[in-house]
């Protein structure tokens, strides 16, 4: 199924996605969009795991296993983070990160 696609083109795609996620995490002030950027970052790392598994050790499955663990961690992290965001919205009526300075001083 892989044809003649090189390993590097997959790596370039996942790197682009990683830095789109980094840029979004640094520039957005909306908590939900920041969480979505984190999901993008985790997904690009997952692609890297599977790509290296496929090209360097095609008869083993360690990369798939680590991707599964990353998916599990991302799911539980999203659940807890969204509970925290809803709690913040209840207390502050906003999810702008610039408003959350109660614990800063």
């Amino acid at each position: 199924m892989i044809g003649n696609i090189s390993l590097n083109s997959f790596l370039v795609i996942s790197t682009l996605m990683f830095f789109i996620g980094i840029y979004g995490f640094l520039t957005r002030r909306n908590l939900i969009t920041m969480l979505m950027s984190i999901e993008l970052i985790l997904n690009s790392v997952n692609i890297n795991f599977v790509v290296f598994n496929r090209f360097l050790y095609p008869n083993q499955l360690q990369g798939h296993f680590f991707s599964l663990i990353v998916i599990a961690v991302a799911a539980s992290e999203a659940a807890v983070a969204i509970a925290i965001i809803i709690n913040i919205y209840r207390n502050f009526k906003s999810i702008d990160v610039e408003n959350l300075d109660q614990m800063k001083f």
């Binding site: 892989i2 790197t15 789109i20 980094i22 979004g24 997904n43 496929r54 499955l61 998916i71 807890v80």
Partner: protein
Amino acid sequence: MIFSKYLFFILSFIAIYAALKVLISKKPMHSVLYLTLTFFAIGGHYILLNAQFLAVVHIIVYAGAIMVLFIYTVMLLNLNIQGEFPKSRLAKFASAIAGGILLFTLIAVFRSYDLKVLADPSLNQIGLVKNLGKILFQDYYLPFELSSILFLAAMVGAVMLGKKDIY
């Protein structure tokens, strides 16, 4: 196979375009829907890489569970009225520089370094659930079970944080 090459380019274009639109769109609901499109494109990449079971799990968990959570939260918090709060120009510029330098360094490294590829075309059944189950329940049994404890802790934490009168 020339067909899989075209498929790779189409999927990559969809993934990168949708990931950019996640950041560009003003409304959070549009961001969530574009993120779902990105996840489907990544699932296509997994199928190209012979990771069939992982592709199915990825679609189910991300597009099925996490995206529903995001969509309900966006609808619950009524964010479409508030719109986006823009950050200062300086912060945007600084993060573009910081991300861009590392991005170009990594891409230059990929271009200059040619990894030896050992891909064997006869091993296209390796990502099915039969082989992955052997790995999960023999070699990595303890981390697999520990992830269920992680899920339990996350569930308890989410319920406790979501309750109204804990203070």
